[in-house]
Every structure is written in C-alpha cells, then in structure tokens.
C-alpha cells in the first residue's frame, strides 16, 4: 500500500431523493407475497429485478411478529427484489426495524402517531428554495388548499437538476429536461415542456395533481403511485394534460 497524502474529504454526505418502490403488505402470507412479486418481476424485469424496496406493514391490523416479518423479507428477496428497510408506521414499527437491523424509511403518508412527538424529517434535497417560510408540521394533513404559497421556478430545469417544493405547490415556467426532476408536496404546474420527471404529493397527499402544458414526461407520480413512459401515447404527446389519482390508479387526460 502506498501512503498518499490526500487532503480532500474522504466522502461527501448528502441528502437526495430517490425513487423507491414500496411493498404494501395486505396479509401476512409469505408464500403468496413471493408468488405475487415474482410475477411482477417477470413482467417487468428491468424495473423490478434487484430493485430496492421498502416493506410497508401499516396496512396490517396488527404488526406481525419478528419471525413473520423475517419470512416476508425473505419472500421479497427470493422474488428477486432487495428489501432495504421498513416504511414508517408507528413506534412499534420503529422498534421492529431496530430489532431487524433495518432502517426506517419515512414513508409517504404513513399513519403517524400524533403522540409520537417529533415527526421524522422528510427526505431533504439540495434544491434551492426561494423563500424561507416555516415548514408546516409534518403530521398536519397536507392539503393543497391551505398550503402557504406556491414555489415558483422561472426558467429551464436542466438535466440532472432537482427542484423540491416542500409543503406547497410548485410552478415551473420553463422546460423540464430529460433527466431533470421536479418534486412537490402539493400540486405541480408546468408551463413548458415536461420531458423529465414530475412527482406531486411527495408527502402522500393523494389529492394533488400535475398540470403540464406540453406533455413528454419520462415519469409522473402522485403520492408514490407512478407511471413511466417508454413510449408517450400519441394522443397525449405534446398536449396540455393533467394527472390525478383515482384510487390506486394514476390517470392522465388532455385538458
């Protein structure tokens, strides 16, 4: 080993937002879960094979015991996905995650306990914010109607750039390039081409919408429900559209 003096830092520690799939468990049945996920992986291997996923147990009436959770995690693994953590639920989930040695990931719209005191900070980004309005408490139900003011970004969002509007709507007057990302806890309005990704309702508000005046998106998501566009449908390409959620379904229609 050569001893080389290097004065630069050994690493940079940064917060960023990454898309991550969430496995919402509806019943504690490891075999059924494995079958189901295997089917998904086979259907879209590029999307799901070795995809990092978080396990969301908040839809179960009672938190399963450690053995059952282990079995569920193993089921995810054997289906070809990589479980990297548990989604935030209650303090019991937190204790469970600790016992499992897994990180707890702040999940979109988990049933935070009002009594649990400090809510976990949402995933922070390095995106510039235009003003410093105090963020609303996380466990207040985020509805777009009473969000402070919208965050406005004038000009293009270039490939590799990321804009995040916390607790509010985002308005972009300019094009969003391929490989660029705009994220808002509220609605997103784009007056320009959307060629990159747009994610509304990042804290889980399923009533948020995305409005685009020239639709060519790679991906749109609302409250974690997303659609990717390998091929943009002819009737939507270049049109003014809006995207909204109906139940679990992300719908897109011309305006």
């Amino acid at each position: 080993m050569s001893v080389k003096m290097d004065t630069t830092d050994a690493c940079d520690l940064r917060f960023g937002q990454v898309g991550i799939a969430c496995v919402r468990v509806r019943r504690v049945d490891a075999a059924a879960l494995c079958d189901e996920l295997e089917r998904r992986v086979r259907a879209a291997p590029q999307l799901f094979s070795r995809a990092a996923v978080v396990l969301d147990l908040s839809h179960l009436l009672d938190l399963p015991d450690d053995g059952a959770v282990d079995a569920l995690l193993e089921a995810v693994r054997s289906a070809g996905m990589l479980p990297v953590g548990l989604a935030y639920g209650t303090s019991e989930t937190e204790a469970l995650a600790k016992r499992m040695g897994l990180p707890l990931i702040a999940k979109f719209r988990a049933a935070y306990e009002p009594a649990s005191g400090a809510a976990p900070a949402p995933v922070e980004t390095a995106a510039p914010r235009h003003d410093a309005a105090p963020p609303e408490p996380i466990h207040a139900t985020p509805t777009s109607g009473n969000a402070p003011t919208a965050q406005h970004h004038a000009g293009a969002v270039r490939s590799g750039q990321q804009i995040y509007a916390r607790d509010r709507d985002l308005i972009v007057t300019g094009a969003i390039a391929n490989g660029a990302e705009v994220i808002a806890d509220g609605n997103i309005h784009v007056y320009g081409s959307l060629r990159g990704r747009a994610m509304a309702g990042a804290q889980g508000d399923e009533n948020t919408r995305i409005f685009v005046s020239d639709f060519r998106a790679e991906l749109v998501a609302i409250a974690g429900h997303y659609r990717v566009f390998e091929q943009i449908p002819d009737n939507l390409e270049g049109q003014s559209v809006q995207c909204w959620l109906e139940g679990e379904k992300l719908l897109i229609a011309k305006l």
Binding site: A156, V157, R158, S159, G160, Q161, G174, A175, A177, N178, G179, A180, R195
Partner: protein, 271 residues
C-alpha cells in the same frame, strides 16, 4: 483590463471541443485579439496536435500550476499568428494535478500579460478537469452534435454552467452561453436521421451561435495540425469564421443548414 475567459465544453466526448477551441482561438487571433488557448484535458492532451505545435511543448499547464515553470516559458507561440499562444496539457499527469488556486493563478497571469481572450478547452465529462475549465469562465461555448445523447449531456452542462461557476457562486450574473452545433449534415436532417437546428434549440431552450457542417476538411486539417478555420475554402472553416464574428457581436445569417441545391450540370449528368 482583464482577459475574457471562454470555456469550450460539452459533457460528451468526441463532439468537437478541441477542434472548436483551436478554430475559435485562431479566429479571435485573426480578428486582431491577443489570445491564449489552454488544454485542460490533462492526461489526454490533443490541442497541441490540432494547433500543430506538439513538437514544441517543453513546459506545460501543470508545470505552471505547480510553479515549476513560468507562463512565459510555457506559452507556445503559434507559427501562423503572432498574437496567439498555446498552453499544452501534460500527458504524463492526471486531472488531480490541477488545483483551483493554480488555475486561477495562471488565468490572472494571462490577464496581467495583456491577453484579450483565454480559451479553455475542457475535457469531456463533468469531473474535476471539466469543472475547473468552466469555473472561472465569462463565456461558454457548448458544443453539441445533432443527436440525442449529446443534447442531453449539453443540457446537463448548461445547468452546471448556471450554478457551478465563480460568477454563479458570487452572484455576478450568468455566464454568456453560446450553443454551437457541430457535425451538422443537412441531407441527413432532411431524411430524419439527425436532429435539426430547430429540434436542438427547442430541446435546450437556447439559440445556436453557429452551425458547423460535417466536413472531410475538419479531419484533414486536424491531422495536418492546422485549425480548420484557417482553410477559408472549406465550409466548416467559413462556418467557424461566422461563429467567431457572432461571438464578437457581429450579426451574420446562418449558412450551410439546408441541403445544397444541385447545379444545372449536376442535374443533367447526375452528381
């Protein structure tokens, strides 16, 4: 009087950054400006070849950055133009040998020596070499080919130019961004094999400062160590002359962007 610093950059490799740097620097010198062109591609030096001075490199950019040689010793005078100098990259070092303070010292030194323009030939990528090449710039020439991957990389670079430069950090106003479309082939655009000028301008949201047609003369000129702008008979050379004039503030219409019409004899005899 401080020198205007122009970075020639692209993100993607092989799109014509060095060819452009050589022709831009030569064109500015032909317009009577005192110009230095610096090769920031440490470890893969090419500019000296295209400028035809590879056998005259004694000291290089890294030697000056590290204080092992003076600017005067390292600047290579162009054989065609008295007011044009080349600062070659080191082939034996890598990009970590560059430091921000060192680069600043060299650029300040060139300003003091009365240079009007410093052209920085950036390496491909967005790592240290490319970052330092753009960091001190006042103008940027973003070289783009009419194909999707090059356009996307240029978009990334345009974003970095707006945020990761000294001007941006100090809030001194944005860098002037010039988009230069190279390797343009109107015939292939016409049949839909290449993006058009309009496509590229639309995707990137800025207008082009020049369009350089794809031309055999570019390769020949490079191999002979002559910047293609010197060849006034070649279309690429003429297009570079137009581009330099536009960067200097002159208005000139875009040329060579339509499929050339066949002349009467060509139509009769085929051609």
């Amino acid at each position: 009087m401080t020198a205007e610093i122009i970075v020639v950059t692209s993100g993607k490799g092989g799109v014509g950054k060095t060819t452009t740097s050589a022709s831009l620097a030569t064109g500015l010198a032909m317009a009577g400006k005192k110009v230095a062109v610096i090769d920031f591609d440490v470890g893969l030096r090419n500019l000296d070849l295209i400028m035809g001075c590879e056998r005259r490199v004694v000291y290089d950019f890294i030697n000056v950055v590290h204080g092992e040689a003076t600017l005067k010793q390292s600047l290579i005078k162009d054989k065609r133009h008295d007011n044009l100098y080349v600062l070659a990259a080191s082939q034996t070092r890598d990009k970590d040998a560059l430091t921000q303070e060192g680069v600043e010292k060299v650029l300040d030194g060139l300003s003091e020596d009365g240079f009007d323009y410093v052209v920085c030939d950036s390496p491909a990528g967005i790592e240290k070499g490319a970052h330092l090449a753009m960091y001190f710039a006042d103008h940027a020439v973003v070289v783009v080919n009419p194909e999707v991957s090059s356009v996307r990389d240029s978009d990334r670079i345009l974003g970095l130019l707006a945020s990761k430069t000294r001007r941006a950090e100090r809030g001194e106003g944005a860098i002037t961004q010039h988009l230069l479309l190279t390797r343009y082939n109107p015939a292939r655009v016409a049949i839909g094999e290449m993006l058009s000028v309009k496509d590229v301008e639309e995707i990137l949201g800025i207008n082009v400062v020049g369009v350089i047609p794809e031309s055999e003369n570019v390769l020949t000129a490079s191999n002979n160590g002559i910047p293609v702008i010197v060849d006034a008979n070649s279309l690429a050379g003429q297009a570079y002359s137009d581009t330099v004039a536009r960067i200097l503030g002159e208005e000139r219409p875009l040329r060579f962007i339509d499929v050339p019409k066949k002349g009467f004899l060509q139509r009769v005899f085929g051609g």
